[in-house]
């Protein structure tokens, strides 16, 4: 990160009762950077984003965004950033136009015009009541409200959740263009594969702690060293594990699945070995290079994803 950070978080923490939702977290994000917050449900991603906007009060720590320190209820920050919440509960009685206007309260008329432009570009039926919208359409409405303000920071919680791949790609492309114009974007997702292609950096978070920061390239390289063989049942997976272990292949059985660590990054040898055994049924599927977040988590951090 060559430029000074536009988002600077130091020692941010938050408890809910006896649950430590966020352990002290430090994070810097530079202008023009897209950072993905990756973690399973309940890992603290949304709490982090809510703390940054003052929607949830921090217990401790310092938050500086676009030269402004978060104070009080965070309205000074909310004026300087755009934020899209993870929940898509909306006011069904409002029309798309009415809802967008409601969402953009406190923003200038140019922002309103841009948001309506984005909504129309996304093909949203703006005259219809929001209660008739699908989950994905509501998500797009929130996105239109979040992308329109001319701010230097966007905080987006699960912005691609529930969208079809084509729409997800359009939205991510818009975010990439926005970042290329100098905007810093912090977006969360519990689907690694959904957002990794636009992220400059990935921050893995679990149990309220920042586990690591990695680039998509290093993550992809690590994922390529892993393969998952799925079997019909756990017993078969266990047998396959015994066969591979006998041949010195590093593998972990997980219920009906077998996670195989590939020394050379090629799953063919391990697969050939298993297929050569007539007493072992063939795996029902082989996943290679694109592991589910839960497996990647277990592998990277030695802990179960929720």
């Amino acid at each position: 990160m060559s430029q000074p950070p536009i988002i600077r978080i130091r020692g941010l923490s938050r408890c809910f009762g006896t649950t430590q939702a966020l352990s002290p977290v430090d994070l810097d994000i530079a202008p023009g950077e897209i950072v993905g917050l990756i973690g399973p449900n309940g890992s603290g991603k949304s709490t982090l984003l809510r703390c940054l906007t003052g929607v949830v009060r921090k217990d401790a720590g310092d938050i500086m965004i676009d030269g402004e320190e978060l104070t009080g209820d965070g309205v000074n920050i909310r004026r300087r950033v755009s934020y899209s919440p993870g929940e898509v509960n909306t006011y069904g009685e409002l029309t798309g136009t009415g809802h967008l206007t409601w969402l953009l309260r406190g923003r200038d008329q140019a922002t309103h015009a841009r948001a309506h432009g984005v909504a129309e570009e996304l093909g949203l039926p703006m005259r219809r009541k929001v209660r008739t919208y699908s989950h994905g359409m509501k998500r797009q409405l929130l996105f239109a409200a979040a992308i329109a303000p001319e701010v230097r920071v966007r905080l987006l919680d699960e912005i691609t959740e529930g969208l079809d791949p084509a729409m997800r790609a359009r939205i991510l492309d818009k975010l990439r263009a926005d970042a290329d114009a100098g905007c810093a974007v912090l977006l969360s997702s519990h689907h690694f594969g959904e957002v990794d292609r636009v992220c400059d950096r990935l921050v893995f978070i679990g149990e309220g702690k920042k586990l690591s920061e990695e680039s998509p390239e290093t993550i992809a390289a690590r994922a390529r060293g892993l393969a998952t063989f799925e079997y019909a049942d756990a017993k078969t997976a266990l047998k396959a594990h015994e066969i591979l272990s006998a041949e010195g292949v590093d593998a972990d059985p997980r219920d009906a699945r077998l996670l195989v660590r590939l020394g050379d990054g090629d799953p063919q040898a391990a697969l050939a070995l298993l297929l050569s055994r007539s007493d072992l049924p063939a795996p029902t599927s082989v996943i290679y290079g694109r592991l589910p977040l839960a497996d990647l988590y277990q592998e990277l951090y030695g802990r179960e994803a929720c």
Partner: protein
Amino acid sequence: MERTLRSYLVPALCYALLLEVMISAAILYWPNFEENIDVYGDLLPFESVRRMVESISNTGVAAYVNLQQFYKACNVLGTAAAVFFSVGAVAGEANRGTLELWLSRPVSRTRMLLERYVVGALAVTLPVFATSATIPYLLELVGEEMSLSGLMLSSVHQSLVLLVVYSLGFCLSTVTSRPMPVALGLLFMTIFQFSIYLVMEWTHYSWFRLADLDDFQTILRTGHLDASTCGPLAAASALLLTTSLYLFHRRVP
């Protein structure tokens, strides 16, 4: 603000219409009531109510109007409206899952809450003033009269009582996500308070003592509000609003 106004408008209009229908019917019934007032007095089961009828018998239509408009309609219907308009203010948003959306806009929490408080408070109190303002015209239909200024002063007193109930519901709304149990609890308390008002031994423990016929008759007689009652009522509402603001600033979606 616009959405808040719109969501309160129709219920507030219905509440005002109901108050107007009730006072219109009561005033149009006045000649019949006046003619049979002694019979009604004998029929009533509660000593406290008999005393009200006695008061009407002694002072005439003003006491009857005060009883019908303020003690009966505004106290009962107004309290229900105060509960209805208050408990959903924040808890309703949490219940429908829109609280985060509401809090995430670039508007301060103080402003958000005050806007909602004011709109709800107006929805509770304006119908009291509006329907009281029609009373002199309705009384003309039955050949009676009453000063508008006295009715407006009584409306202020009544509104201060309703604002306490409203502020209490509003305060509870800032800490809960389930408006229905809170509303039912407050309505149960209201019915209980109204019930004990009718029992002579317990009547002094009822909050309806703060807005009963004696209070409104005193306002009419003296021509001014009783500061020893109105002051603490206003202070209680202010305290509850301040508490609501404090709690709302710490509210988590």
